[in-house]
């Protein structure tokens, strides 16, 4: 078997037929990880013993009681809690923290029969677009080691793209699943806000965060999405709505679907090659029977500014709990309580996290709240309305996932603003709480993957999966 190239569905079927056992799969996965890790460094910890035990456990389960992903290896981002294992968000401040409980989405993974192989690298507290802001050091792009894998779920995307695991969970606050998926040539889906429980996901910006799947193809992403979706009584923002069988919609085709192309996403700053590839793919979709029309999302320009008020504001409160009192890093330099906070947080957080805490604290301060936070919330409503109006006319919106392909390591580290612009096309989706998927739409001449983003109306993950599957077919025939 050619494990690194196999999809989760193919693996599952092999396992189900008994062609290979979960224990063998675990061995194969760790062998692959051992091979790839020195090159890409996608994992921050592998759960060798736990995975072996888990495989043994799974083998005891009678056939009729096996979950839909029985025996399939998965990786989880280092901001998802798994009871008894460290969760650090790639931050020094959570050094030594062992999760006392398991995140709802991770629990769902295990109930589906998966084997959790390890936790993956990320930008500290999911703040970043390159996976370079990590206490564990950078992850490299499997397609080109001098390039970043994207972020913040760079470890998950690289692990999937390099063949280490067929599936991984990431989290997406402003593009953190879709952007690294685009950079690594994987499929990454951010569900509708509230579709997947956030319980056990270490919060960055609570009103924007969603957990989602990263996979090698659309079918796998649909299956994993189905597994983790659903109402959770432990997350008040999780939606109590039925979960569709997303896998069913994947192959349904795009005939009769209306697709919108927002002009604001195809202007300045977009690489020509990306624009060409996206537009030619759209042409192919048209040939497959989809209707295409140009639309406008007029407030797009304000999305990044809005996001960089709201997300840091929420983060400044969410990260206040990391104070060295209860868990994680505690400074030994402090002489009094005030210093205890200052030294612990000064030593424990990296520069990008500090920058965002400062931004958020400022935006919420007395005298600035109305001008920043409140104004940003109003603009957020306008951005939502843009999409709402657009979806009166179209079933899905297609944009590039990123303005450029994966950039070089270190290239944007000293220029945070440039780094922030890497998420210019993904951020509006989080502000509007909509589902979106990034699917590979070809490669540049330098063989770097290009991501195409499909955005859908709230709870219409099935729409975007249909379109994404069609894109996948187009690219496969072109190859």
């Amino acid at each position: 078997m050619n494990y690194p190239l196999m999809t989760a569905l193919e693996l599952r079927d092999m396992l189900a037929r008994g062609d290979v056992s979960p224990s063998e799969i675990v061995r194969i996965a760790f062998a692959e990880i051992e091979k790839q890790e020195p090159r890409i460094h996608a994992f921050v910890e592998v759960f060798t013993d736990r995975a072996v035990e888990r495989a043994n456990e799974l083998e005891q389960i009678p056939k009729e009681k096996r979950g839909p992903l029985w025996g399939v290896p998965v990786a989880i981002k280092d901001n998802l809690c798994l009871s008894g294992k460290s969760t650090t968000c790639a931050s020094k401040i959570l050094e030594g923290f062992v999760a006392p409980y398991t995140a709802t989405a991770v629990k769902a993974l295990e109930e589906a029969g998966t084997i959790i192989i390890g936790r993956t690298n990320m930008d500290e507290f999911a703040m970043g677009s390159s996976c370079e802001h990590s206490i564990y050091g950078q992850t490299r792009n499997p397609w080109k080691e001098e390039c970043v894998p994207g972020g913040s779920s760079g470890g998950s995307a690289a692990a999937v793209a390099s063949g280490e695991v067929p599936l991984a969970l990431g989290s997406d606050t402003g593009g953190s699943i879709r952007q690294p998926a685009a950079f690594c040539g994987a499929v990454g889906l951010k569900p509708t806000y509230g579709r997947v429980s956030r319980y056990g996901l270490v919060a960055f910006a609570s009103s924007l965060d969603q957990i989602g799947p990263i996979a090698r193809n659309v079918g796998d992403a649909a299956l994993l999405l189905k597994v983790i979706s659903g109402h959770d009584q432990y997350d008040s923002t999780s939606l109590d709505v039925p979960v569709d069988d997303f896998s069913d919609s994947v192959g349904a085709g795009v005939r009769g679907m209306k697709i919108g192309l927002p002009q604001e996403y195809f202007g300045q700053g977009l690489d020509t090659i990306i624009k060409e590839r996206i537009l030619s793919t759209v042409k192919n979709l048209e040939e497959m029977g989809a209707g295409v029309e140009e639309i406008s999302l007029p407030h797009t320009d304000y999305a990044v500014a809005t996001y960089y008020i709201i997300a840091p504001s929420e983060a400044s409160a969410n990260l206040a709990r990391f104070d060295g009192i209860k868990y994680g890093w505690r400074s030994t330099q402090a002489r009094d309580l005030r210093e205890q906070y200052a030294e612990t947080r000064g030593e424990g957080f990296g520069i990008e996290v500090k920058r965002r805490i400062m931004l958020g604290t400022y935006a919420l301060s007395a005298g600035y709240y109305d001008a920043y936070y409140l104004k940003a919330q109003k603009v957020r409503t306008l951005i939502m309305k843009d999409f709402h109006n657009a979806f009166k006319k179209v079933d899905a919106i297609i944009t590039p996932t990123t303005p450029t392909t994966a950039f070089r390591l270190g290239e944007k580290l000293s220029d945070p603003l440039q780094m922030y612009l890497a998420d210019v096309f993904t951020i509006p989706v989080n502000l509007a709480g909509l589902p979106a998927v990034s699917v590979p739409a070809g490669w540049t001449e330098q063989c770097m993957p290009i991501g195409l983003q499909v955005i859908g109306p709230a709870l219409k993950e099935s729409n975007i999966l249909k379109v994404a599957r069609a894109v996948e077919q187009i690219i496969q025939t072109k190859k």
């Binding site: 809690c81 968000c89 999760a99 056990g200 919060a203 609570s206 008040s236 929420e314 409160a317 104070d323």
Partner: protein
């Protein structure tokens, strides 16, 4: 110069829920440190709050008992500050859109008739934990955090600055406590921290408001009154000396009986409130408010009026009995045990009132027991009073019997049968004793017959002695009269 005092109070009461405000941990008081905790109330990474419906219902009930308008939609906010007893680094509270607004509390102000203090707002929030300090001790040298209290639901009740004196502040708190206890939403026990109070106070010689100070750290209603009186005096003398009052937060020190500056306005926290993104807006349907209104317990002023009308109680007795809900409940349960034909309702009710306000109150006070934990339940007290009315025990004996009932948590019937205390009211038995006394006191009988009626008292005493005090002296008197005159 005459200064006008303006006081507003911020009161926090703990709502009587079984579990905490945002998780399912028990909100029980006094458990071993850090035993009622979970990832949610400890602020573990990734944990999320889920609102307790019971907390909402109690908050609505409280708001209605305080005549507030309950908002159909209110939102939670994060109040951000660092302190070791605050595990998330923010408190979940309400800020811009509170649960309830615009209510009032009415009470009878000493000598001034009915006073109304307006309520600005009432909102739901979570409590913080508790720090335990072990400075310079072994094995722990430092401070420890007990998070049992983290996330316990509180209702913050903010009054308008309608209070005009420290004693009125005390009256307001007593009235508030009474109402909330009656509504069944809180124990309002300041000692257990289920009621806490901060006070804002200013004085002014003009119509304009003076600069206020906020006082914290008062542990009883009396402390609130004393701290306010101190502060009024302090501010007045500053103004008297031509100095200015500065806006600041001050701490009351119960040992020195003074307030001390804690922080000035400039040093005040910027709490950076913003809407809590982990919770959806709280929607309270009109139907819920209507249902809770229907279920609302009778509030103290209404209950007092009813007790006076129904049982003919005096104003004074009614006030004492209704001081707390449990006292009033106790009283009514006792009165309800009256044997309907044997005793007149008003007589019985009056007698129960006397027992509750004098003997029972005295014993409870001495033993530092609250009335709901009384070792003599209302049914037992009612039985005691019934036996007095039936003439089976004397009033004097009853006090002794009660003391034993209270001390040994036992019933009146058991005490009587154990001590053989039953009053000898059987005339035949008593006659025999009287006759034997007369027979053994011939010389005294002589004296009586010679006109010395004073010796009758001696004879009564003899009979009482023979009966171990179990005879009714009045009856003995009558019998002696009868016997002595018969023999003539």
């Amino acid at each position: 110069m005459n200064y006008r005092t303006v006081i507003g109070l911020e009161v926090h009461v703990q709502l009587k829920t079984k579990s905490k405000c945002f998780c399912s941990c028990s909100s029980e008081y006094g458990a071993e440190p850090n035993t009622n905790i979970c990832p949610v109330c400890c602020g573990m990474p990734g944990a999320l709050p889920v609102l307790n419906r019971q907390a909402v219902e109690l908050a609505v009930k409280a708001a209605r008992a305080l005549n507030c308008t309950v908002k159909e939609r209110s939102i939670f906010a994060r109040k951000n500050y660092f302190y070791p007893d605050l595990p998330k680094g923010y408190q979940i509270s309400q800020y811009e859109l509170p649960l309830a607004v615009q209510g009032w509390v009415e009470f009878d102000s000493d000598g001034k008739g009915t006073k109304r203090v307006r309520i600005t707002r009432a909102h739901l929030e979570e409590d913080a934990g508790k720090l335990l300090h072990f400075i310079g001790t072994t094995p722990v040298d430092g401070s420890l955090v007990d998070m049992n209290r983290c996330g316990v639901p509180l209702l913050e009740i903010v009054s308008e600055p309608d209070i005009t004196s420290p004693s009125e502040a005390h009256e307001y708190l007593a009235a508030l406590k009474e109402i909330l206890q009656y509504a069944g939403v809180s124990d309002c026990d300041m000692e257990k921290g289920s009621l806490r109070c901060d006070a804002n106070v200013s004085v002014s010689a003009t119509d304009e408001l003076g600069t206020r100070s906020e006082i914290k750290n008062m542990n009883s209603f009396r402390a609130v009154e004393k701290a306010l009186a101190y502060e009024v005096k302090r501010q007045s003398s500053l103004l008297e000396d031509g100095q200015k009052v500065i806006q600041e937060t001050r701490l009351w020190d119960e040992t020195t009986l003074k307030t001390y500056s804690m922080r000035t306005k400039e040093e005040a926290h910027d709490y950076r409130y913003f809407p809590e993104p982990d919770l959806v807006p709280l929607v309270i349907e009109k139907e819920l408010v209507a249902r809770l209104d229907r279920e609302m317990a009778e509030l103290p002023r209404m209950r007092r009026a009813r007790l006076i009308a129904q049982f003919g109680l005096s104003e004074y007795d009614a006030r004492v009995i209704t001081q707390d809900r449990y006292g009033a409940d106790y009283y009514e349960r006792a009165v309800a045990c009256r044997p309907p034909k044997a005793v007149d309702l008003k007589q019985f009710a009056k007698s129960i009132a006397n027992w509750v306000t004098v003997e029972l109150a005295g014993c409870l006070n001495k033993a530092k027991i609250s009335i709901e934990a009384s070792p003599v339940p209302p049914e037992n007290l009612a039985r005691l009073v019934e036996l007095i009315f039936r003439g089976e025990i004397s009033g004097k004996m009853a006090k002794e019997v009660f003391a034993e009932m209270f001390g040994n948590a036992t019933t009146v019937d058991k005490v009587i049968s154990k001590r053989g205390l039953k009053q000898i009211s059987d005339e035949g038995a008593l006659s025999k004793i009287v006759e034997s006394v007369l027979l053994n006191s011939q010389n005294i009988v002589e004296k009586y017959r010679n006109g010395n009626e004073k010796v009758l008292g001696f004879l009564v005493g003899q009979v009482m002695k023979q009966t171990n005090g179990q005879a009714d002296p009045k009856q003995v008197n009558q019998l002696l009269h009868k016997k002595l005159s018969k023999s003539e």
